[in-house]
C-alpha cells in the first residue's frame, strides 16, 4: 500500500463532524497548499522506514524557501547587534571608550564585558569570557557589542568604540606552548589543561625486541565547520524579567544552563527556542553571542538579533583541533605490531570548549583498530592564543585515523608488504580488546577490508 493510499484509508475512518462539532474550527487547519504525504507506520509493526527511500518531512519547505531560519524571523521593534572584535591575540585591555558609539543616532545600547554578571562559560571548563574584559586571549575575542536600529548603524558604531590595548606576549605553536618558559595564555595556569595516558604491557622491552622500529610525525590543520547558515540568535527580555532566546543551536538545554550561569538568572526565567539549523557539524553545540543579545535586550527593552559575519565564523567560533601526532612502532619481520608509542599534542586554541571530549576520543582511537599488546599513548591539549577549538564531526577521530593509517602505509612500504596484508595481519577481530580494555563485539574490520578490496579491484589494480 502506498503512502498516499494509507493516508486515504485513514481519512475514511474519521467520522464526519455532526451538530455543534461542525461549527468548531479544526484544531489543525487543513493545508491549503503544498500537501505533504508522509508514511504512517502501523502500530506494533516493524518500522516501515527500514529499506525504504525516505524523504525529509521538512524538505519541501526548504525547497520552497518557506523554512524559517533565525535570520528569516523578525519581531516588532527589533534591533540589530554587532560585536567588536579585538584583532590582537594577547593583550591587557587598558580602557574601552564607548561614548562615540553611544552618541550616534540609531544606537540604542552598548555593552562591555564589565556589565556581564558572570563573564565566563564553557561546557567543561568555564574559561571563555562572553566579552573579553581586562584581558584578550585571541584575536577573535569580542570586546564590546552594539545594538542599533539597523545593521548598518551597528557596524558604523563599532568603528566609534575606542579600545586601548597593552600587548602581551602570545604563543601560537602548540609545541612552544608546552614548554615551561612559554607565555601563559591563562595565567597563573599552565598551558596544558588536560592530559590522558593509556598504558598497556611493556613498550620499551617490546620495542627493543622488535625486528624494526618506525617513527613518524603527522600534523593536521585547523578546520572551520563553515555551515552555510552563520551563528544567529534573537533575544527578547520581557517586562516580567524573563528572556526568550531563539537560536540556531543543536543543544538548547546545555545552552540554557550556560545562559543562566552567565546572566545569573534562574533557569526557569529563560526560554530557549531551537530553530531549524542551517548546518551544524558540531559548530553550534554551545552558546556564543546569546548572553550579549539578552543583555542588550534588557538594556533596550526590545528584541535584539545578532547574525555573525562569515569572517566572525572563522575567527570567533570553534574549529577542529589541529593535532601534532608522533608515532613509534616496533614490528616483526612479517609486519606484526609488537609495540606502539603515540604522543598527541592537541592545539586547543584560547579556550577549552569540547577539548576534553576530543582529547579522550583521539587518545583512545589513536593506536588504530589493531591488536597491540604493548602500548603507551600520551595526549595533551594546550592553550594557544588562537581561535578556540571544539566539537567537530568525529571529535578527534579523523585526525588520528589520518596518522595511524599513514604510519601503517609507511611501515608496509619499508617492509615491502602489501598495505592490505599488514592491516589484515594486525586488525581487530571478534573479541579483540580495545586500548582501554573494552572487549569488542560485532567486529568486521577484516571482512570490510576484504570486501572493499574485492569491490574496487585492489589486487588487480596494483602495478
Amino acid at each position: 500500500m502506498s503512502g498516499k493510499q494509507k493516508v486515504q484509508e485513514r481519512e475514511k475512518t474519521i467520522a464526519p463532524p455532526v451538530g455543534v462539532e461542525m461549527l468548531r474550527v479544526p484544531a489543525v487547519v487543513r493545508p491549503a497548499a503544498y500537501p505533504i504525504e508522509t508514511l504512517v507506520p502501523e502500530a506494533r509493526q516493524q518500522t516501515p522506514a527500514v529499506g525504504q527511500r525516505a524523504s525529509r518531512v521538512d524538505g519541501r519547505l526548504h525547497g520552497l524557501g518557506q523554512t524559517r531560519y533565525i535570520d528569516d524571523l523578525a519581531f516588532p521593534g527589533m534591533l540589530h547587534a554587532r560585536i567588536k572584535r579585538a584583532g590582537i591575540a594577547a593583550a591587557r585591555i587598558v580602557r574601552i571608550d564607548t561614548h562615540g558609539a553611544e552618541a550616534m543616532p540609531g544606537v540604542m545600547a552598548v555593552l562591555t564585558g564589565a556589565e556581564i554578571p558572570v563573564n565566563s562559560f564553557g561546557p567543561s571548563l568555564q574559561d571563555q569570557p562572553v566579552l573579553a574584559h581586562e584581558r584578550v586571549f585571541h584575536a577573535g575575542d569580542g570586546v564590546a557589542a552594539v545594538a542599533a536600529v539597523t545593521e548598518q548603524i551597528a557596524v558604523e558604531a563599532l568603528e566609534k568604540i575606542v579600545v586601548e590595548y597593552e600587548p602581551l606576549p602570545a604563543v601560537f605553536d602548540p609545541l612552544e606552548a608546552l614548554k615551561e618558559d612559554s607565555p601563559k595564555v591563562h595565567p597563573p595556569h599552565g598551558n596544558v589543561y588536560t592530559t590522558k595516558v593509556i598504558a598497556k604491557g611493556d613498550v620499551e622491552a617490546a620495542l627493543a625486541a622488535s625486528h624494526r622500529v618506525f617513527e613518524g610525525r603527522f600534523r593536521t590543520q585547523m578546520v572551520e565547520h563553515v555551515s552555510l547558515e552563520p551563528h544567529a540568535a534573537i533575544a527578547d527580555w520581557d517586562a516580567n524579567g524573563r528572556v526568550t532566546i531563539w537560536s540556531t543551536l543543536g543543544r538548547i538545554t546545555l545552552a540554557r544552563g550556560d545562559v543562566a550561569r552567565t546572566l545569573k538568572l534562574a533557569m526557569n526565567r529563560i526560554r530557549m527556542v531551537g530553530t531549524i539549523v542551517g548546518g551544524n557539524f558540531g559548530g553550534k553545540n554551545e552558546i556564543t553571542q546569546e548572553p550579549v543579545l539578552a543583555l542588550l535586550s534588557r538594556k533596550t527593552g526590545r528584541p535584539v538579533k545578532g547574525v555573525y559575519t562569515r569572517g566572525e565564523e572563522f575567527t570567533s567560533t570553534t574549529t577542529r583541533h589541529p593535532i601534532i601526532m608522533d608515532y613509534k612502532t616496533g614490528v616483526t619481520r612479517e609486519g606484526k605490531i609488537l609495540a606502539r608509542k603515540v604522543r598527541l599534542v592537541l592545539d586547543g586554541g584560547a579556550y577549552c570548549s569540547w577539548s576534553e571530549t576530543t582529547l579522550g576520543k583521539a587518545a583512545i582511537l589513536s593506536p588504530g583498530p589493531y591488536n597491540i599488546e604493548n602500548l603507551r599513548v600520551e595526549a595533551y591539549v594546550v592553550y594557544t592564543n588562537k581561535t578556540m577549538t571544539g566539537a567537530m564531526r568525529g571529535f578527534g577521530a579523523p585526525q588520528v585515523c589520518f596518522a595511524y593509517e599513514s604510519h601503517m602505509d609507511d611501515i608496509a612500504a619499508a617492509l615491502k608488504i602489501d598495505p592490505l596484508e599488514i592491516r589484515l595481519l594486525n586488525a581487530f577481530g571478534e573479541g579483540s580488546v580495545s586500548p582501554t580494555g573494552q572487549v569488542l563485539q560485532s567486529v568486521v574490520v577484516k571482512e570490510s577490508l576484504l570486501q572493499a578490496a574485492e569491490r574496487f579491484g585492489w589486487r588487480e589494480g596494483r602495478p
Partner: protein, 162 residues
Amino acid sequence: MTHVALRVNGEMREATVPPETTLLQLLRVHLNLTGTKLGCDVGDCGACTVIVDGMAVNACLMLAGQADGREVVTIEGLATRDRLHPLQKAFEDHAALQCGFCGPGAILAAKVLLDENPDPSVAEIRDALAGNLCRCTGYTKMIDAVREAARELREQGGKGAA
C-alpha cells in the same frame, strides 16, 4: 534614498531604500522574501542566488538600485499554489535538501541552466552549480535531481504542457 521599481516573481514592486541596500536586503528585509539566504555576503557561497533578467546573480553583490526596472525571480516565484516546480519536486524526491540553506540558491542556479539547456550533461550541471556551496547534502544528490527535473521538463514540453 534610492527609489527602485522592479518586477519580482511577475509582480511590480516598488521601494525607497538607502543607496547601500543590496538586492538581497531589498528582497529579504523590504519585500519579506526570506527564501533567498545570506551565507557569506561576499559572493562566494551562492546561497543568495536569484534570477535577474534570466541570469543567475548573487543578490548580495548587486545593489537594489542596479535591479531597477529588471525582472527578478526568487525561490518564492517557482511553485504555484497547487504544484511544485519540477526542480523543487526532484530536489525533494532525491533528498537534495538536508539543512536546506543552500537549496533555494542551488535550485535557481539549476533553473537558469535548464532554461537555456534542456538536456545538460553532468559536467554542465556541475559547472552551473559551481557557484553554490553546500556543506551537508553534498552535490551528488543535487546533480541527480537536476537531471531528473530536466527529464521531467522535457517530457512536459513534448506534451505541450506549460
